[in-house]
Symmetry: D2
Subunit: 340 residues, 4 copies
């Protein structure tokens, strides 16, 4: 059994790691840290784990983690992971999968976008497995930057066209569930504010835009004409990305469909919707469902992707990455359907 430590296990992504690992045949959580909850049973906070998890939250102790764990998931806010990462990597064989933003961007871009000095720049491997074949069991790097939720949905929606060099402009109009904002109550998550409403925010300059530009331009070098507007919808889980794509050539829906099917051939977690993808069909699962329609009038295509922001957009993809770098089957512990 692969021994897992989770740093920051009291939040949503920590809970999801514990939920998914509760059923993983080859890995088990052995340490779960959470400062504010230290000393409490994990299942007294995450009550869905009652009967399934006997861990107790601990104060973070990196020496203990390095001794007991093979893989460490950092499920902490940005700016926090960078404090622990070098300490955990040093004099250990631990590999780290960082769910925070700290190692996703080039250092200078990170510092500009997040408005802080990076305390511990280290080379990391950014990993959406479906588009990054360089992530595999022979990977030498010990630090995986697990992608952001919006960039995962966006990149999966645009990758085949980007890889074909066909993008002229892309607007990602994304709609996310509110768990993306964490489990601390706020005005946005206040039920009467969100129910029967939709809350757009950071209309032109959300932090995840830099990550999208980085990933799309990696596939189509030089292409940076990416825009991104997120909205919170009255939904707990899920991101629907509506990608409004202007292409350099006129394409039919069948052309685009074929291109996407070929690109994602052999990628078990990408599936194609009968018509449009639905958050319900991927809820709680690691799947990404995709749909699309070309505009008959011009060089445009609308591509839709649906993921669960906490699973494929965070903890599920983290476990998928763990599976891959540990030489397990990519789908291990993750091969179950969405909860309609």
């Amino acid at each position: 059994m692969i021994k897992i430590g989770i740093v920051g296990a009291s939040g949503y992504t920590g809970e999801e790691l514990l939920r998914l690992l509760a059923n993983h045949p080859s890995a088990e959580a052995v340490v779960a840290t959470a400062r504010a909850a230290a000393g409490k049973k994990v299942s007294s906070i995450h009550e869905n784990l009652k009967g399934l998890c006997d861990l107790t939250f601990e104060e973070p102790d990196y020496e203990k983690i390095k001794k007991e764990c093979d893989i460490v998931f950092m499920a902490v806010p940005h700016g926090t992971a960078m404090d622990a990462v070098p300490e955990i990597l040093k004099d250990s064989k631990c590999k780290i999968i960082d769910l925070s933003a700290d190692y996703r961007l080039k250092t200078d871009v990170f510092e500009e976008v997040y408005g802080m000095k990076h305390k511990a720049p280290i080379d990391a491997v950014y990993a959406i497995p479906e588009v990054h074949p360089e992530v595999n069991k022979n990977l030498k790097d010990r630090l995986i930057a697990n992608p952001g939720c919006f960039p995962t949905g966006a990149t999966l929606a645009a990758a085949p066209l980007a890889a074909a060099g066909l993008l002229k402009s892309v607007i990602f109009d994304s709609k996310t569930g509110v768990t993306g904002a964490g489990n601390t109550p706020s005005a946005t998550s206040h039920y009467p504010n969100l129910a029967e409403n939709i809350i757009p925010y950071k209309l032109t300059a959300h932090r995840h835009l830099a990550e999208m530009v980085q990933e799309v331009s990696r596939l189509q070098p030089g292409f940076e004409n990416v825009s991104f507007t997120p909205h919170v919808i009255p939904v707990s889980r899920g991101i629907l990305t509506t990608a409004h794509i202007e292409t350099t050539e006129k394409l039919t829906t069948a052309d685009v469909k074929k291109m996407y099917e070929d690109y994602y051939d052999g990628k078990p977690f990408v599936q194609f919707a009968e018509s449009v993808p639905s958050l319900a069909n991927v809820r709680g699962s690691n799947f990404c469902h995709i749909g699309m329609e070309a505009d008959a009038r011009n060089n445009r295509v609308v591509v839709l992707s649906a993921i669960d922001n906490l699973v494929k957009g965070a903890s599920g993809q983290a476990i998928q990455n763990m599976n891959i770098i540990c030489g397990l089957k990519e789908t291990e512990g993750l091969w179950f359907p969405g909860l309609i």
Copy 2:
């Protein structure tokens, strides 16, 4: 025009008073206090009032209020109204309608239930107009205790049977929208906690139980066999009260329906549902819709009442009380339908 002051106007009940007064032909809000928001335009906080309200939030200044206002609504938490009420009543002609709990219960009951010393006991008139004919334009008292939201729904559901002395036991199983808990974000109002969920709380000992006992026993002297269990449902507004009533006699549905229709004859805000009442049909309005079914097997009847907790359960009933004590038509400014 009746001049209105609202103390504590930044919360939900304050906003609702302003919303309702925006359309009242004979009254207008002239002062709106809110410490934390003092100096800000009311419509910059309550954006639904943009174009309709030019007031600016002020620090509470009771001398100013006494000079400028005929009626003062206290839309503050319990324990706070009692600080201001004696000051406002003194050397003024202001009448106060207190939406807090401070003057609803006998002082000793208040002190026990709310766990605090009452700083300023004053005789007040508790007023659900449909069951308290003593509230009228000749009322000498200048302090109206506006009923709690749950007790309003519960009392309206049980009053006709209580007035007929037919109650043997009553269990109010109430389902409320989350605005009842105020506009400060909390774990209960955190969208992912409440959506697709229902949160029961204070299963046997909610503070409003004392108010229910007081009101039901006023109608059926000596009867105190009242139980109350509230639940928060994923709804912003509204209370559905399911009253499980054991009666001293066997009654048919038709018997009960007739009794309720007679009791509420001439009460414009009580209406009877075709089958079961719906929160949608009373949303935003001052109506209470009622439905019922007698149990063919025994001496039981289930009565349902639906109100909007912020309107008939708070600010609408406050304005209804204002209308009555000011000699206006009871329905003035309140005679509009629910928003389906």
Copy 3:
């Protein structure tokens, strides 16, 4: 009192007309037709109107309507209004406000988009009052084409930039409440399908696109680079339109704000959000709230508009149009806040 007939009064827009007219000081509904509900009390179907509406649904009888009504609202599906309109206009003084799609588009465009022969082409006046100053009390035409819900939100979001000739491309990514699809249960409106979900549809070719192109190009002649993708969100009422606008010049947020404020100066129903507009703030009301942000990186601006699809997007705008053509104050009966 202006006498009103409503043809097709059992649906959502019919109900909204009745709800709004219940409080209109200068107009009253005197006839409400609905074939399937004929003979039933209106308030037995629209229970929110209990106590407020004594009408009984009738079979449509246009001779009766012509005798009794000054204004007729057609609240029927497209393809149905055209059957009645000529009959009502003939030998009468009735004016018609048609909420259906039948008279919004040029006949040839209508026939192509709606895939049917137009049985009764008649000149009509398309009327979003904020952008169509030609709609006024001296209007000679007796047939008003009340705009579609999506085109209303879209046009209001783009009009000032269009009127200034600054549009280069516009993508309307719209999010609508499900009442837009009517009150007949369907797979889309089935609660488990929509709750915790978002349903995009007609990704590139919704019927309302033609109406948007017509209206935007009326303001910026020759401009037709308009795209439109609608989504149903888990919301009953409201449309948030996210307009992704490419402009011919670089503009700052302040520039755009100023342009919009000037354009909508003196238009009482258009208000500007403090940051982003919210469906909650316009719910049940005739207001349109607008917000915007220019993209610092390029010639782009994101403009947001929020309306209630059943009010400003249908029945409220219909009454606003009635007010205007009848010489009443534009805001009469509509000057109340949204229901948060």
Copy 4:
């Protein structure tokens, strides 16, 4: 591998069986029937199963099922199972787990409650495993009546007190998600009718009452003072049962808690909430979470149980029963957490 046939696999309970079996280590679905969908890929209807299920819906062919299946789940409406059950049992070794109501009640009670003649009375074993130890791998009967959703939640809430003979009266005030009403769109499931609302129905005489009386009186012989009022809440999945219980003795919360813990000791799917149980914590899982509070004033206790109506209230319990009668571990394929 145990070979499974599912009759009526296009509905919610059919889908849930397929979802759960997709991950069951010792059983696999080999036949899925659905008349209306025959010939279509299962995953084209249940899109959450894309990648996970290669079955195609078939017309029901009981001879084929008897040849290919060890266990048959009947996921059909009441009145339908009785047509197929005798045919499947005849000349086969198949065991049937019937999720419909056809075999839950004594024949005469069934005929009265469901208003139809029973076409094929056969002895069946009613099985809530936590309260029916007679269900085990040595069971000779080949027909299991899988309990109704409401009776499961209700029985689990009352069983320990019933088994101790302490019940004097019980009112089950139940709140259910709308999937309980099936996947055909209806007025109740129409989003604008249910969202921001709660719909009580069959206030005193729901069909499941007979099943509750049967089960509670089996535990406390002679006790029939059971009432039941269901409500649909704006939730897709889950039933919260609020059991208002009058006891024959005064009990403290600690007394009751101890009694429940003892009764459910060794029952892995029953867990106790820290304070009150939550639908979120059991969503998608086979768990039942329980909480309670005794009323300090009298002989009353309020007990709460939370289940997922489609899992512990239907398909999960069906698989739990299958596991037990097949000699597998009770938790096999079901031992995963709820989806918060």
